[in-house]
């Protein structure tokens, strides 16, 4: 590679946490910054869209996109960036899986607009402006980056933590990149790196985090909390279980688990008990399962747009 690699960072419908997450590299960030040339990064530098449009195709070494795709403008921008870049990286859960804003897909675009703005909502250009100045249309649904452009790598997490960003930059800067499609996290489940002791105990109740103070050493799932550890990729160091809170799955499901909701349903189906198994316990088992409220929002907190594509037509 001649010269410093050129880097672009762009946000679509996200929260900015992914941009800020670079800063979590702390002093190591300065080393990374000194080894790359930043050509576009609205959060930190003043390059504008017009500057970007003038760049020759494939002149950016790598573009990291964070945020879910939410508007037509998002799509235009990521296509433009794809054209200008050799590598495109889905950075963070929103770009990877649709992310928390992807929960919006539980409602239709029309319902969202209705909740937000009331009836009779219409986009318009500012007075005195041309049609092209009106705000961009919303897409019908929130979508992950890979729906619109080819994605070479994924750095997952909401936001990706330094333990996941670091290896990506190492690979990028050394030029020793893994096969395309690589996700910079473990293939194994989070439970492997979680310090809590796990015994696959039977669940006789579902406990919500505010309902009890969990034992500090024992597995949270064993204690009845819905922890997504068994179906989530490792790589974050089990940050949430260490902090006394169940994993909500931000790094995304392991390749083995696939659909995180279905994988959790399989796991919970095995673990839930209300006394001895058998017809006499059915009703009581159902009551235990009923205490698991909002399963869709719980299991697909970060990944609804990828796994719940098939939606019943309204």
């Amino acid at each position: 590679m001649r010269g410093k690699p050129k880097l672009a960072v762009y946000w679509t419908g996200g929260c900015g946490g992914c941009d800020v997450s670079f800063l979590e590299l702390g002093p190591a960030l300065l080393d990374v910054l000194s080894q790359v040339e930043i050509v576009f990064w609205p959060a930190l530098v003043d390059t504008k869209r017009a500057d970007l449009e003038e760049l020759p195709p494939r002149s950016i070494t790598a573009t990291l996109v964070n945020g879910t795709l939410r508007t037509e403008e998002n799509v235009e921008m990521v296509r433009l960036l794809r054209e200008k870049s050799q590598l495109v990286v889905a950075f963070g859960a929103c770009a990877h899986l649709g992310g928390v804003p992807g929960l919006a897909n539980l409602a239709s675009r029309e319902e969202i607009l209705r909740t937000v703005t009331g009836n009779g909502f219409r986009l318009a250009p500012p007075p005195g402006g041309d049609a092209e100045d009106s705000p961009p249309e919303l897409l019908g649904a929130a979508r992950p980056l890979a729906d619109e452009v080819a994605v070479d790598y994924t750095v997952p997490g909401c936001p990706p933590m330094p333990s996941l960003i670091g290896p990506f930059f190492e690979a990028l800067l050394s030029g020793d990149l893994p096969d395309p499609g690589h996700v910079f996290a473990q293939e194994q489940a989070l439970c492997k790196e979680c310090p809590r002791t796990r015994e696959d105990r039977k669940l006789t109740k579902v406990l919500r985090p505010h309902e009890a103070l969990p034992d500090p050493q024992e597995c949270l799932l064993d204690q009845g909390m819905i922890c997504m550890g068994p179906v989530t990729r490792g790589g974050c160091g089990a940050a949430c279980p260490k902090a006394g809170m169940p994993c909500t799955g931000c790094v995304g499901p392991t390749p083995e688990a696939g659909d995180p909701a279905l994988a959790m349903i399989a796991a919970l189906g095995s673990l839930v008990r209300a006394g001895d198994e058998g017809p006499a316990a059915f009703a009581a088992e159902d009551r235990v399962l009923d205490t698991l409220v909002d399963p869709l929002g719980t299991f697909y907190k970060y990944s609804l747009p990828v796994y719940v594509r098939a939606r019943r037509a309204a």
Binding site: C15, P101, A107, E111, P127
Partner: protein, 483 residues
């Protein structure tokens, strides 16, 4: 007619573009700050588990997730009628002061700061954090290192540095160990040491700069609005507890109320031509897009907090506050670019307060959860780095969110930001050829607020209007610019 687009506006949080419309003679016909984003949090938070809200609403904004996290937890405390034990509050407050410190540092070095720390003619390719690091290599590195320490405290207490997981209705997730408390103290000490260095740095390197002096004095950046912010019992700014105090543009107290009651005093103006709502003080009513004593428009954030306060809570901050007031010689201070200085005063208080909390025995207390009642409705209010943040939830009998309402910092400031950008655009357009440096000056007008468009648009697409209606002395509408 000519159109100039600044797209995207940069070094702030979130998406935005500015459109300027000029007539044939190059005069300004209109200016629009467009925020082309909508994520629909309002819609999809309904039906989620209440206790998840601190972890969902924080995804509104990755720059101030801590503010949403805690506002949300406070709303849940109220919704469950919980008494939060002192040990839990010690954790929350320590965490929160570290966040304010860290966020203000972020602005200083990465976002708005480069405008002030670098000469106005700095080419845009260098007008950023890298330029700052080149100009001030030592201090720059120290800022990055100490910010990492503050973030480390956030990680210890919050579980994760960005998008923390620790606050729950009635308390926090787990107790802090004595070893952790010791590590925390070493970090908060470094924070205080940095704050002690930043004050003289500001007075030697930033304040005397003629560019900054002229911005502070500029009539185009003088906006006499009312102000709103949290204060403690002694009248000092508090970032996450206390009462909401409002003072008028002339400095008189308008009210001092608990969060829920204060929220009642705020109405939101809906304008047919935009999707952003404009909060204003109900008591004064809506008098169009104008500052002044009769208008209900108020501002929030660092400058507002210093304006509603009677003093600062900690000694070094108090000293700097006095220098600040002496400089302006009036209170409230209406100079928009004083937001930057106010941020420094707050950074000092946050560091000192964090260090005091780190030494408090309560921090390692093990009684960290208050008893919860039946789920109902509640309001939580905190001061985000950018200003007052309200969360209001109604929970159903299963503790699922039935309804919610958020008023975020940048939304409170929407009208003020619009007015400031407009003022600056008029001044800049009057200067003739619109080069890049002049256009940046327009961006500087709102970077002073450190606005967070991600917060402002958690559910709203569309435009923040930059409407100025200019009235003649008799109050007749003389000119309505743009929208």
């Amino acid at each position: 007619m000519k159109k100039i687009a600044i797209d995207p506006i940069t070094r702030l949080e979130g998406h935005g573009k500015i459109l300027l419309y000029l007539d044939e003679k190059g005069g300004l016909k209109g200016a629009v700050l467009q925020v082309p984003e909508l994520r629909g949090f309002e819609a999809f938070c309904r039906g989620r588990r209440g206790e998840e809200m601190p972890q969902i609403t924080e995804r509104i904004c990755g720059v101030c997730p801590e503010a949403h996290h805690l506002a949300s937890a406070k709303a849940l405390d109220a919704a469950y009628g919980a008494e939060v034990p002192p040990a839990a509050w010690a954790q929350r407050e320590l965490f929160y002061n570290c966040y304010i410190f860290s966020d203000h540092l972020l602005h200083l070095v990465f976002l708005g700061g480069p405008d002030l720390l670098l000469p106005a003619d700095t080419p845009k390719s260098a007008r950023n954090v890298l330029g700052v690091l080149q100009a001030y290599p030592e201090l720059g590195r120290e800022v990055v290192a100490v910010r990492a320490r503050a973030q480390r405290v956030l990680e210890i207490v919050g579980g994760r540095a960005i998008h923390p997981v620790f606050a729950l209705p009635g308390g926090v997730a787990r107790a802090i160990t004595p070893e952790e408390a010791e590590e925390i103290r070493s970090h908060t000490q470094a924070m205080v040491a940095l704050a002690e260095k930043l004050v003289p740095f500001f007075h030697e390197e930033v304040l005397p700069d003629p560019g900054y002096q002229s911005l502070l004095a500029s009539p185009s950046a003088h906006l006499p609005t009312h102000y709103l912010g949290l204060v403690d019992e002694g009248g000092a700014p508090h970032f996450c507890r206390g009462k909401v105090r409002a003072v008028s543009s002339q400095g008189a107290e308008l009210f001092r109320l608990e969060g829920a009651a204060a929220m009642e005093r705020i109405a939101e103006r809906v304008e047919p031509w935009t999707y952003v709502k404009f909060p204003y003080l109900k008591g004064l009513g809506w008098a169009g897009f104008a500052a002044g004593p009769e208008s209900g428009i108020y501002r929030v954030g660092p400058l507002a907090r210093l304006n509603v306060a009677e003093r600062m809570a900690t000694p070094l901050a108090q000293e700097e506050y006095e220098r600040f007031l002496d400089f302006f010689g009036e209170k409230p201070v209406h100079a928009t670019f004083a937001y930057h200085w106010a941020r420094l005063v707050e950074m000092v208080q946050a560091a000192e307060a964090a260090h005091a909390l780190a030494q408090d025995k309560a921090l390692t207390g093990t009684e960290i959860r208050g008893r919860l009642g039946k789920p109902g409705e509640g309001v939580g209010v905190v001061e985000a780095a950018r200003g007052t943040l309200f969360h209001r939830y109604a929970l159903d009998e299963n503790g699922l969110v039935r309804d919610l309402d958020l008023i975020v910092a940048t939304t409170h400031n929407a009208a003020g930001i619009g007015l400031s950008v407009k003022q600056m655009a008029e001044e800049v357009v009057g200067k003739g050829t619109l080069d890049e440096a002049l256009l940046n000056q327009i961006e500087m007008a709102f970077r002073a607020y450190d606005p967070c468009l991600a917060c402002a648009t958690h559910f709203l697409p569309g435009e923040m209007p930059l409407v100025v209606e200019i009235y003649d002395v008799e109050g007749r509408l003389e000119r309505r610019i743009a929208r």
